[in-house]
Protein backbone atom coordinates (compact mmCIF):
# COMPACT_ATOMS: atom_id res chain seq x y z
CA UNK A 1 0.00 0.00 0.00
CA UNK A 2 1.20 3.49 -0.81
CA UNK A 3 1.90 6.03 1.90
CA UNK A 4 0.16 9.39 1.85
CA UNK A 5 -3.20 8.07 0.79
CA UNK A 6 -5.57 11.00 0.42
CA UNK A 7 -8.10 11.54 3.23
CA UNK A 8 -11.07 10.59 1.09
CA UNK A 9 -9.52 7.27 0.11
CA UNK A 10 -8.55 6.58 3.74
CA UNK A 11 -12.16 7.08 4.78
CA UNK A 12 -13.61 4.91 2.01
CA UNK A 13 -11.18 2.09 2.69
CA UNK A 14 -11.98 2.20 6.39
CA UNK A 15 -15.74 2.44 5.94
CA UNK A 16 -15.97 0.02 3.03
CA UNK A 17 -18.15 2.02 0.68
CA UNK A 18 -19.05 5.55 -0.39
CA UNK A 19 -22.20 7.08 1.03
CA UNK A 20 -23.42 10.62 1.76
CA UNK A 21 -22.94 10.23 5.54
CA UNK A 22 -19.30 9.27 5.15
CA UNK A 23 -18.66 12.24 2.86
CA UNK A 24 -20.07 14.66 5.45
CA UNK A 25 -17.58 13.19 7.92
CA UNK A 26 -14.81 13.67 5.36
CA UNK A 27 -15.71 17.36 4.98
CA UNK A 28 -15.84 17.78 8.78
CA UNK A 29 -12.48 16.07 9.30
CA UNK A 30 -10.79 18.07 6.54
CA UNK A 31 -12.24 21.29 7.93
CA UNK A 32 -10.98 20.45 11.42
CA UNK A 33 -7.51 19.76 10.05
CA UNK A 34 -7.39 23.18 8.41
CA UNK A 35 -9.07 25.11 11.20
CA UNK A 36 -6.87 23.68 13.94
CA UNK A 37 -3.82 23.25 11.67
CA UNK A 38 -3.42 19.65 12.70
CA UNK A 39 -2.36 16.45 11.00
CA UNK A 40 -3.45 12.89 11.68
CA UNK A 41 -3.21 11.81 15.28
CA UNK A 42 -0.32 9.58 16.24
CA UNK A 43 -0.76 9.05 19.95
CA UNK A 44 -3.72 10.93 21.37
CA UNK A 45 -2.59 14.45 20.53
CA UNK A 46 -6.13 14.84 19.23
CA UNK A 47 -9.50 14.08 20.74
CA UNK A 48 -12.85 13.76 18.99
CA UNK A 49 -16.17 13.94 20.77
CA UNK A 50 -18.88 12.74 18.41
CA UNK A 51 -22.60 13.00 18.99
CA UNK A 52 -23.63 10.35 16.49
CA UNK A 53 -22.69 6.79 15.66
CA UNK A 54 -23.46 7.16 11.95
CA UNK A 55 -21.20 6.78 8.90
CA UNK A 56 -19.45 10.14 9.27
CA UNK A 57 -17.68 8.98 12.44
CA UNK A 58 -15.68 6.50 10.38
CA UNK A 59 -14.25 9.41 8.39
CA UNK A 60 -13.27 11.10 11.67
CA UNK A 61 -11.50 7.92 12.77
CA UNK A 62 -9.77 7.25 9.45
CA UNK A 63 -8.71 10.81 8.64
CA UNK A 64 -8.01 12.31 12.04
CA UNK A 65 -6.83 9.13 13.72
CA UNK A 66 -9.19 9.61 16.66
CA UNK A 67 -10.22 6.03 17.08
CA UNK A 68 -12.24 3.83 19.33
CA UNK A 69 -9.19 1.65 19.98
CA UNK A 70 -6.89 4.51 20.97
CA UNK A 71 -9.45 5.90 23.34
CA UNK A 72 -9.44 9.40 21.84
CA UNK A 73 -12.90 9.01 20.34
CA UNK A 74 -15.68 9.79 22.79
CA UNK A 75 -19.21 8.94 21.78
CA UNK A 76 -22.14 10.84 23.20
CA UNK A 77 -25.29 9.17 21.96
CA UNK A 78 -27.28 12.30 21.10
CA UNK A 79 -28.19 11.41 17.52
CA UNK A 80 -26.72 14.66 16.17
CA UNK A 81 -24.21 15.11 13.38
CA UNK A 82 -21.91 17.10 15.61
CA UNK A 83 -18.18 16.58 15.93
CA UNK A 84 -15.97 18.39 18.43
CA UNK A 85 -12.31 18.07 17.58
CA UNK A 86 -9.65 19.12 20.04
CA UNK A 87 -5.89 19.46 19.87
CA UNK A 88 -4.05 18.72 23.10
CA UNK A 89 -0.87 20.41 21.85
CA UNK A 90 -2.60 23.60 20.72
CA UNK A 91 -5.09 23.66 23.58
CA UNK A 92 -7.79 24.44 21.06
CA UNK A 93 -11.09 22.81 20.09
CA UNK A 94 -13.75 23.35 17.46
CA UNK A 95 -17.35 22.15 17.51
CA UNK A 96 -18.65 21.39 14.01
CA UNK A 97 -22.39 20.88 13.55
CA UNK A 98 -24.10 19.88 10.34
CA UNK A 99 -26.72 22.45 9.38
CA UNK A 100 -30.28 21.21 9.53
CA UNK A 101 -31.48 20.36 6.02
CA UNK A 102 -28.06 21.06 4.48
CA UNK A 103 -28.05 17.84 2.50
CA UNK A 104 -31.77 17.47 1.85
CA UNK A 105 -31.34 17.20 -1.88
CA UNK A 106 -34.00 15.84 -4.18
CA UNK A 107 -31.66 12.94 -4.92
CA UNK A 108 -31.19 12.16 -1.21
CA UNK A 109 -34.74 10.96 -0.81
CA UNK A 110 -34.55 8.56 -3.75
CA UNK A 111 -31.13 7.36 -2.58
CA UNK A 112 -32.50 6.52 0.86
CA UNK A 113 -35.47 4.77 -0.73
CA UNK A 114 -33.16 2.56 -2.79
CA UNK A 115 -30.84 2.09 0.17
CA UNK A 116 -33.68 0.63 2.20
CA UNK A 117 -34.41 -2.03 -0.42
CA UNK A 118 -32.98 -5.46 0.27
CA UNK A 119 -32.75 -6.45 -3.39
CA UNK A 120 -32.21 -4.05 -6.26
CA UNK A 121 -32.94 -4.68 -9.91
CA UNK A 122 -30.17 -4.03 -12.41
CA UNK A 123 -31.73 -0.66 -13.27
CA UNK A 124 -32.12 0.30 -9.62
CA UNK A 125 -28.51 -0.65 -8.84
CA UNK A 126 -27.35 1.59 -11.69
CA UNK A 127 -29.67 4.37 -10.52
CA UNK A 128 -28.28 4.13 -6.99
CA UNK A 129 -24.74 4.25 -8.30
CA UNK A 130 -25.56 7.36 -10.33
CA UNK A 131 -27.28 8.99 -7.35
CA UNK A 132 -24.17 8.45 -5.24
CA UNK A 133 -22.20 10.20 -7.97
CA UNK A 134 -24.55 13.19 -7.96
CA UNK A 135 -24.63 13.42 -4.16
CA UNK A 136 -20.86 12.97 -4.02
CA UNK A 137 -20.29 16.03 -6.18
CA UNK A 138 -22.87 18.10 -4.29
CA UNK A 139 -21.53 17.27 -0.82
CA UNK A 140 -17.85 17.48 -1.70
CA UNK A 141 -18.12 20.79 -3.55
CA UNK A 142 -20.68 22.70 -1.48
CA UNK A 143 -19.32 25.66 0.50
CA UNK A 144 -18.50 24.70 4.08
CA UNK A 145 -20.70 27.53 5.36
CA UNK A 146 -23.69 25.85 3.71
CA UNK A 147 -22.86 22.49 5.22
CA UNK A 148 -21.75 23.30 8.77
CA UNK A 149 -21.81 25.80 11.53
CA UNK A 150 -18.77 25.82 13.78
CA UNK A 151 -17.44 27.54 16.85
CA UNK A 152 -14.26 27.43 18.87
CA UNK A 153 -15.01 25.91 22.24
CA UNK A 154 -13.20 25.21 25.44
CA UNK A 155 -12.86 21.52 26.06
CA UNK A 156 -11.43 20.03 29.20
CA UNK A 157 -9.13 17.41 27.80
CA UNK A 158 -9.21 14.12 29.66
CA UNK A 159 -5.92 12.43 30.45
CA UNK A 160 -4.49 10.02 27.94
CA UNK A 161 -5.88 6.50 28.00
CA UNK A 162 -4.36 4.37 30.75
CA UNK A 163 -3.16 0.80 30.48
CA UNK A 164 -4.24 -1.23 33.49
CA UNK A 165 -3.27 -4.64 34.73
CA UNK A 166 -5.20 -7.69 33.57
CA UNK A 167 -6.75 -10.00 36.15
CA UNK A 168 -8.33 -13.42 35.67
CA UNK A 169 -12.06 -13.89 36.20
CA UNK A 170 -12.73 -16.58 38.81
CA UNK A 171 -15.72 -17.95 36.84
CA UNK A 172 -14.90 -17.86 33.11
CA UNK A 173 -11.14 -17.73 33.44
CA UNK A 174 -10.80 -14.95 30.89
CA UNK A 175 -8.63 -11.91 31.36
CA UNK A 176 -10.26 -8.65 32.38
CA UNK A 177 -8.92 -5.15 32.89
CA UNK A 178 -8.46 -4.53 36.58
CA UNK A 179 -10.65 -1.44 36.65
CA UNK A 180 -13.56 -3.44 35.21
CA UNK A 181 -13.56 -6.25 37.77
CA UNK A 182 -16.03 -6.93 40.55
CA UNK A 183 -14.71 -8.11 43.90
CA UNK A 184 -17.06 -10.80 45.27
CA UNK A 185 -17.03 -13.67 47.74
CA UNK A 186 -16.41 -16.00 44.77
CA UNK A 187 -13.38 -13.98 43.87
CA UNK A 188 -12.59 -11.40 41.20
CA UNK A 189 -15.22 -11.51 38.45
CA UNK A 190 -15.64 -9.92 35.06
CA UNK A 191 -18.83 -7.90 34.57
CA UNK A 192 -20.70 -10.48 32.40
CA UNK A 193 -20.10 -13.26 34.96
CA UNK A 194 -21.02 -10.92 37.80
CA UNK A 195 -24.26 -10.05 36.00
CA UNK A 196 -25.02 -13.71 35.23
CA UNK A 197 -24.79 -14.47 38.90
CA UNK A 198 -27.32 -11.76 39.58
CA UNK A 199 -24.74 -9.31 40.75
CA UNK A 200 -24.54 -11.02 44.13
CA UNK A 201 -21.91 -13.70 43.75
Amino acid sequence: MCKNMPPLELAIQFHGHICPGLLIGVRAAEFAQKHLDISQDYDEELLAVVETDSCGVDAIQAILGCTFGKGNLIFNDYGKNVYTIASRDKNQAVRIAQKYGATSFRESERFRELNRKQVLSEEEAAEKENLIGVLFEKIMTMPLEDLFTWEDVELKMPGKAQIHATRQCAVCGEGVMETRTRQTETGILCIPCYNKLGGEA
Partner: protein, 264 residues
Protein backbone atom coordinates in the same frame (compact mmCIF):
# COMPACT_ATOMS: atom_id res chain seq x y z
CA UNK B 1 -39.03 -21.63 -52.43
CA UNK B 2 -35.31 -21.93 -53.09
CA UNK B 3 -34.13 -18.53 -52.04
CA UNK B 4 -35.69 -15.25 -51.02
CA UNK B 5 -34.94 -11.59 -50.85
CA UNK B 6 -34.71 -10.29 -47.30
CA UNK B 7 -36.19 -6.93 -46.46
CA UNK B 8 -35.83 -5.03 -43.23
CA UNK B 9 -38.09 -2.44 -41.68
CA UNK B 10 -36.06 0.01 -39.64
CA UNK B 11 -39.11 2.07 -38.80
CA UNK B 12 -39.51 3.87 -42.11
CA UNK B 13 -40.83 1.09 -44.33
CA UNK B 14 -39.24 -1.94 -45.90
CA UNK B 15 -35.87 -1.81 -47.59
CA UNK B 16 -33.97 -4.55 -49.36
CA UNK B 17 -31.30 -5.97 -47.09
CA UNK B 18 -29.94 -8.96 -49.02
CA UNK B 19 -30.86 -10.73 -52.23
CA UNK B 20 -31.08 -14.48 -52.92
CA UNK B 21 -30.78 -15.58 -49.33
CA UNK B 22 -30.81 -19.32 -48.94
CA UNK B 23 -29.98 -19.67 -45.27
CA UNK B 24 -31.30 -17.89 -42.19
CA UNK B 25 -30.41 -18.81 -38.62
CA UNK B 26 -32.01 -16.87 -35.77
CA UNK B 27 -29.53 -16.65 -32.89
CA UNK B 28 -29.41 -15.31 -29.38
CA UNK B 29 -30.07 -11.68 -28.46
CA UNK B 30 -32.08 -10.99 -31.63
CA UNK B 31 -29.17 -11.77 -33.91
CA UNK B 32 -30.21 -13.16 -37.27
CA UNK B 33 -27.55 -14.72 -39.42
CA UNK B 34 -28.19 -14.88 -43.17
CA UNK B 35 -26.27 -16.17 -46.12
CA UNK B 36 -26.98 -15.67 -49.82
CA UNK B 37 -26.40 -18.06 -52.69
CA UNK B 38 -23.46 -15.79 -53.60
CA UNK B 39 -21.78 -16.55 -50.31
CA UNK B 40 -22.49 -13.14 -48.80
CA UNK B 41 -23.05 -13.33 -45.07
CA UNK B 42 -24.56 -10.89 -42.66
CA UNK B 43 -25.81 -10.67 -39.07
CA UNK B 44 -28.48 -8.17 -38.10
CA UNK B 45 -30.33 -7.39 -34.90
CA UNK B 46 -33.90 -8.09 -35.92
CA UNK B 47 -36.87 -10.39 -35.62
CA UNK B 48 -38.70 -12.13 -38.43
CA UNK B 49 -42.00 -10.36 -39.02
CA UNK B 50 -43.32 -12.20 -42.05
CA UNK B 51 -42.33 -14.89 -44.56
CA UNK B 52 -44.09 -14.63 -47.93
CA UNK B 53 -43.02 -17.91 -49.37
CA UNK B 54 -44.87 -17.58 -52.66
CA UNK B 55 -43.29 -14.21 -53.35
CA UNK B 56 -39.85 -15.24 -52.05
CA UNK B 57 -39.85 -12.45 -49.53
CA UNK B 58 -38.76 -12.45 -45.91
CA UNK B 59 -39.45 -9.34 -43.92
CA UNK B 60 -37.45 -8.50 -40.82
CA UNK B 61 -38.13 -5.87 -38.24
CA UNK B 62 -35.07 -4.19 -36.80
CA UNK B 63 -34.60 -4.55 -33.06
CA UNK B 64 -33.12 -1.44 -31.59
CA UNK B 65 -31.32 -1.74 -28.30
CA UNK B 66 -32.47 0.77 -25.74
CA UNK B 67 -29.03 2.29 -25.62
CA UNK B 68 -28.45 2.37 -29.34
CA UNK B 69 -26.12 0.31 -31.44
CA UNK B 70 -23.08 -0.59 -29.46
CA UNK B 71 -19.87 -0.63 -31.35
CA UNK B 72 -16.98 -2.19 -29.56
CA UNK B 73 -13.92 -0.32 -28.45
CA UNK B 74 -10.54 -1.36 -27.17
CA UNK B 75 -8.93 -0.14 -23.99
CA UNK B 76 -5.99 -0.80 -21.71
CA UNK B 77 -6.21 -1.60 -18.02
CA UNK B 78 -3.27 -1.65 -15.65
CA UNK B 79 -2.48 -4.64 -13.46
CA UNK B 80 -2.30 -2.45 -10.39
CA UNK B 81 -5.02 -1.28 -8.05
CA UNK B 82 -3.71 2.11 -7.04
CA UNK B 83 -3.01 4.19 -10.08
CA UNK B 84 0.70 3.83 -10.55
CA UNK B 85 3.50 1.32 -10.53
CA UNK B 86 6.44 1.46 -8.21
CA UNK B 87 10.01 1.57 -9.35
CA UNK B 88 11.21 -1.99 -9.88
CA UNK B 89 7.66 -3.36 -10.16
CA UNK B 90 6.74 -5.22 -13.35
CA UNK B 91 4.51 -3.03 -15.50
CA UNK B 92 1.74 -5.15 -16.95
CA UNK B 93 -1.26 -3.91 -18.92
CA UNK B 94 -4.29 -5.75 -20.28
CA UNK B 95 -5.72 -5.00 -23.69
CA UNK B 96 -9.48 -5.52 -23.68
CA UNK B 97 -12.25 -5.17 -26.22
CA UNK B 98 -15.88 -4.57 -25.37
CA UNK B 99 -18.16 -1.73 -24.43
CA UNK B 100 -18.45 0.55 -21.41
CA UNK B 101 -15.43 -1.11 -19.76
CA UNK B 102 -17.16 -4.47 -19.92
CA UNK B 103 -14.98 -6.86 -21.86
CA UNK B 104 -16.55 -9.05 -24.50
CA UNK B 105 -14.47 -12.24 -24.54
CA UNK B 106 -15.96 -13.23 -27.89
CA UNK B 107 -14.74 -10.07 -29.60
CA UNK B 108 -11.70 -10.84 -31.68
CA UNK B 109 -8.66 -8.61 -31.92
CA UNK B 110 -7.10 -8.36 -35.35
CA UNK B 111 -4.11 -6.60 -36.81
CA UNK B 112 -3.11 -5.05 -33.51
CA UNK B 113 -0.06 -2.94 -33.08
CA UNK B 114 1.14 -1.72 -29.69
CA UNK B 115 3.69 0.99 -29.04
CA UNK B 116 5.46 2.47 -26.07
CA UNK B 117 6.52 6.10 -26.08
CA UNK B 118 8.93 7.33 -23.47
CA UNK B 119 10.88 10.58 -23.51
CA UNK B 120 10.23 11.02 -27.21
CA UNK B 121 11.31 7.51 -28.23
CA UNK B 122 8.74 5.16 -29.75
CA UNK B 123 9.10 1.39 -29.91
CA UNK B 124 6.70 -1.38 -30.89
CA UNK B 125 5.97 -3.95 -28.19
CA UNK B 126 4.82 -7.54 -28.31
CA UNK B 127 1.42 -8.60 -26.98
CA UNK B 128 1.33 -11.73 -24.83
CA UNK B 129 -1.64 -14.09 -24.85
CA UNK B 130 -3.05 -14.36 -21.33
CA UNK B 131 -6.31 -16.22 -20.63
CA UNK B 132 -9.00 -14.07 -22.24
CA UNK B 133 -6.91 -10.97 -22.77
CA UNK B 134 -3.75 -9.86 -24.45
CA UNK B 135 -1.16 -8.37 -22.18
CA UNK B 136 1.58 -5.84 -22.63
CA UNK B 137 4.43 -6.53 -20.27
CA UNK B 138 6.94 -3.75 -20.07
CA UNK B 139 9.12 -5.23 -17.37
CA UNK B 140 10.76 -3.15 -14.73
CA UNK B 141 10.86 0.36 -16.05
CA UNK B 142 12.59 3.22 -14.33
CA UNK B 143 10.76 6.11 -12.72
CA UNK B 144 8.79 8.44 -14.89
CA UNK B 145 6.04 8.54 -17.44
CA UNK B 146 5.42 6.11 -20.27
CA UNK B 147 2.65 6.44 -22.84
CA UNK B 148 1.32 3.21 -24.32
CA UNK B 149 -1.03 3.03 -27.25
CA UNK B 150 -2.63 0.29 -29.29
CA UNK B 151 -4.15 0.45 -32.73
CA UNK B 152 -6.46 -2.14 -34.27
CA UNK B 153 -6.85 -1.95 -38.04
CA UNK B 154 -6.38 1.85 -37.96
CA UNK B 155 -9.97 2.10 -36.69
CA UNK B 156 -9.73 1.55 -32.96
CA UNK B 157 -7.16 3.32 -30.85
CA UNK B 158 -6.52 3.27 -27.15
CA UNK B 159 -4.02 4.99 -24.96
CA UNK B 160 -2.87 4.82 -21.37
CA UNK B 161 -0.28 6.72 -19.42
CA UNK B 162 1.79 4.62 -17.08
CA UNK B 163 3.18 6.39 -14.08
CA UNK B 164 6.08 4.79 -12.30
CA UNK B 165 6.73 6.28 -8.90
CA UNK B 166 4.84 9.10 -7.24
CA UNK B 167 4.78 11.97 -9.67
CA UNK B 168 2.33 14.33 -11.20
CA UNK B 169 3.34 15.50 -14.62
CA UNK B 170 2.08 18.52 -16.44
CA UNK B 171 1.70 19.22 -20.11
CA UNK B 172 1.85 15.76 -21.63
CA UNK B 173 2.71 15.70 -25.31
CA UNK B 174 0.16 14.20 -27.72
CA UNK B 175 1.24 11.05 -29.51
CA UNK B 176 -0.03 12.18 -32.89
CA UNK B 177 -2.85 9.64 -33.27
CA UNK B 178 -5.49 10.45 -35.91
CA UNK B 179 -8.01 10.84 -33.08
CA UNK B 180 -6.57 11.29 -29.62
CA UNK B 181 -7.64 12.15 -26.11
CA UNK B 182 -5.01 14.11 -24.22
CA UNK B 183 -5.16 14.98 -20.51
CA UNK B 184 -4.93 18.75 -20.11
CA UNK B 185 -2.95 18.96 -16.94
CA UNK B 186 -2.34 15.77 -15.09
CA UNK B 187 -1.74 12.27 -16.20
CA UNK B 188 -3.51 10.97 -13.14
CA UNK B 189 -6.17 12.24 -10.81
CA UNK B 190 -8.06 11.46 -7.66
CA UNK B 191 -11.70 11.24 -6.69
CA UNK B 192 -13.22 14.61 -5.96
CA UNK B 193 -11.18 16.36 -8.64
CA UNK B 194 -12.19 17.85 -11.94
CA UNK B 195 -10.38 16.13 -14.74
CA UNK B 196 -9.96 17.92 -18.05
CA UNK B 197 -9.17 16.29 -21.36
CA UNK B 198 -8.71 17.58 -24.88
CA UNK B 199 -9.73 15.79 -28.06
CA UNK B 200 -7.40 16.17 -31.03
CA UNK B 201 -8.26 15.21 -34.60
CA UNK B 202 -5.07 14.99 -36.66
CA UNK B 203 -3.42 17.09 -33.99
CA UNK B 204 -6.04 19.85 -34.02
CA UNK B 205 -8.65 20.46 -31.29
CA UNK B 206 -11.98 18.87 -32.17
CA UNK B 207 -14.89 21.12 -31.24
CA UNK B 208 -18.38 19.84 -30.39
CA UNK B 209 -17.35 16.19 -30.19
CA UNK B 210 -19.27 13.85 -27.92
CA UNK B 211 -17.01 12.26 -25.34
CA UNK B 212 -18.42 9.40 -23.33
CA UNK B 213 -16.96 8.50 -19.96
CA UNK B 214 -17.31 5.50 -17.72
CA UNK B 215 -15.46 3.76 -14.91
CA UNK B 216 -14.56 0.20 -14.10
CA UNK B 217 -17.20 -1.73 -12.23
CA UNK B 218 -20.11 0.46 -13.27
CA UNK B 219 -23.51 -1.14 -13.06
CA UNK B 220 -24.80 1.05 -15.88
CA UNK B 221 -25.37 -0.79 -19.14
CA UNK B 222 -24.40 2.26 -21.11
CA UNK B 223 -21.87 5.00 -20.47
CA UNK B 224 -22.94 7.01 -17.40
CA UNK B 225 -21.40 10.29 -18.63
CA UNK B 226 -21.84 12.12 -21.93
CA UNK B 227 -19.73 15.23 -22.43
CA UNK B 228 -19.21 17.66 -25.30
CA UNK B 229 -15.95 19.34 -26.20
CA UNK B 230 -15.79 23.15 -26.17
CA UNK B 231 -14.19 25.52 -28.69
CA UNK B 232 -10.73 24.32 -27.61
CA UNK B 233 -11.69 20.67 -27.96
CA UNK B 234 -11.74 20.38 -24.16
CA UNK B 235 -14.20 18.94 -21.70
CA UNK B 236 -14.08 18.02 -18.05
CA UNK B 237 -15.57 15.57 -15.61
CA UNK B 238 -15.83 15.61 -11.83
CA UNK B 239 -14.52 12.22 -10.69
CA UNK B 240 -16.81 10.47 -8.24
CA UNK B 241 -15.99 6.78 -8.70
CA UNK B 242 -13.13 4.80 -7.27
CA UNK B 243 -12.09 2.78 -10.30
CA UNK B 244 -10.15 3.79 -13.38
CA UNK B 245 -12.05 5.91 -15.89
CA UNK B 246 -12.36 5.41 -19.62
CA UNK B 247 -12.96 8.32 -22.00
CA UNK B 248 -14.18 7.46 -25.48
CA UNK B 249 -14.58 9.57 -28.58
CA UNK B 250 -15.77 8.52 -32.01
CA UNK B 251 -15.30 10.55 -35.17
CA UNK B 252 -15.10 9.77 -38.88
CA UNK B 253 -15.17 6.00 -38.35
CA UNK B 254 -12.41 6.03 -35.73
CA UNK B 255 -12.99 5.25 -32.08
CA UNK B 256 -10.30 6.37 -29.68
CA UNK B 257 -10.20 5.71 -25.95
CA UNK B 258 -8.08 6.89 -23.07
CA UNK B 259 -7.80 5.08 -19.75
CA UNK B 260 -7.31 7.35 -16.78
CA UNK B 261 -5.53 5.46 -14.05
CA UNK B 262 -6.88 6.85 -10.81
CA UNK B 263 -4.25 7.61 -8.26
CA UNK B 264 -4.09 7.56 -4.50
Amino acid sequence: MCEANVYIDRGAGEELLMEKVDRIIPGEENNIFMESIFGERRVVKARIREMELVHHRIILEEVKEATGVRELEIWLEPDTDHGHFHEGEEVSLKLLKGYNMKADPTAGLQDIKAFVVSEGDKREVHLHEHDESKNIILGQETEGLIQVYVNEEDKLYTKLIVEIGHHHHHGLEPLGLPLEIVPSNYSHARMGENYEIQVLKDGEPLTGAEVRATYSGTQNRDYPHHLTTDSEGKTRLYLTARGNYLFTVKHDGITSTFTLMKSF
